[in-house]
Symmetry: C2
Subunit: 279 residues, 2 copies
Amino acid sequence: MGQWTFFNHDFLKEEDTKLHFRDLSIQRGYGVFDFFKVINSVPIFLEEHLNRFYFSASQMRLEVHYSKEELKQIIYELLKKNNQTDTGVRITLTGGYSTDGYQISNPNLIIALHSLSFPAPDQFEKGVKLITYEYQRQLAQVKTIDYLMGIWLQSIIKQNNADDVLYHQKEMVSECPRSNFFIVSQNGVLITPSKNILNGVMRSKIIEVAKANFKVEERDLFVDEIKTAREAFITSTTKTILPVKQIDNYMFSSSRPITSVVFRKVLEVQQNFINSTSR
Amino acid sequence: MGQWTFFNHDFLKEEDTKLHFRDLSIQRGYGVFDFFKVINSVPIFLEEHLNRFYFSASQMRLEVHYSKEELKQIIYELLKKNNQTDTGVRITLTGGYSTDGYQISNPNLIIALHSLSFPAPDQFEKGVKLITYEYQRQLAQVKTIDYLMGIWLQSIIKQNNADDVLYHQKEMVSECPRSNFFIVSQNGVLITPSKNILNGVMRSKIIEVAKANFKVEERDLFVDEIKTAREAFITSTTKTILPVKQIDNYMFSSSRPITSVVFRKVLEVQQNFINSTSR
């Protein structure tokens, strides 16, 4: 590919960007990251993603050697060097080269482009099928690199002809491995879990946008209740909004008036952000 | 250090043993490993460690490209090349270079020496202090690289002047992050949790050894019960057996007759293994 990455202090060729095997990510799965999309050279909601990145790092006691402004400059320079206007960017911070394989060390920082895989154009119409699964992500508010369960569950998802899994603990719903979750109740209220979740940047934007038109509740939400909902959707940086057509055996109507309004509104917010930030 | 490692198909210098940042261990914390000690050039209980390694790999759908016999030959050659008679050996198998950063790919295999850190000589006399913490390791029977919680808890362990943490879920005790757990009841029965644990090789050896002299129960064990026990100890490859002096506020007697017998017996088993395997 010959793309550039940023590694600790230097711009490197992607193929040369490697971690020694004693890094704590490889030894102990210890690290954090964040991921945002770039459209028309504009990193979307960069401020929010960087804030969360610093929060994640601090929760995991990993030092970031750059200020937010410095990271932004590095990101802009990386995009320029790669001559990319539309891409995903991932910032990864690992536990570093640990002498005893257990203590946190001087973190390794990698900033790299990742091609964006948006949902297929007809996916919004078709919707996704979720299956519920009892599991709670550890340190849920921290964007750690721990996707062990999400990846391990791929085969069960496939066996059930599903697209993704919806985690719950003792029937209390949290999120999907890489998305937040919303329902629209029969009387038109948007409800999304408030606890034991990652605070998705897209989730926050959607709550903000939806509040202008609908009642929105962030609160405990149980499996029973989602199976009475009128609409349901999942949200993430790459998906923005994807309607849910089915959860376990419960089928949602293919008419999704409220999801459609919220989707249109959040795309507007995103477009306004691009227009106002372009330079 | 200039030591040799084995990486996929080749013996490499340790400093050249690196993973590209797109490996699924770095991106998603996805990988397994096993670890055993080598004494007088004898890899201790190698068969059991390799069996567990293959079990872990298969549970995580990671293909091992070598048979057990081939792995053994590689390990013996690695020890010889490094001219090491006493060391730790770690076999790590990761999710590989994933194209989309989520699907399992062709695994990367790393076999490397890790210096053994045995407990200090007076640690057996002193014993360790544990604090209980509610947490359940995901895929507990699989030796994954996920030690996120164990490492994250280090600061809480320190704050409590403790040496390690003992996991429980709803008061049901499982294990420490890197050790199995036993108690000796007031009437001299050894009890160790049977569920939601890693099947430690040392744990199995100890159960086997102890059964000759004592009653041993593998069963559910609750926080309440451990705080009535006469003795308690933790077990692992490097620790063999370490007595517990305190759990939360509960103090154990410094007289540990049964722990001492079991410890002496398991050291004998280990020595017999070395004597009978040396060549």
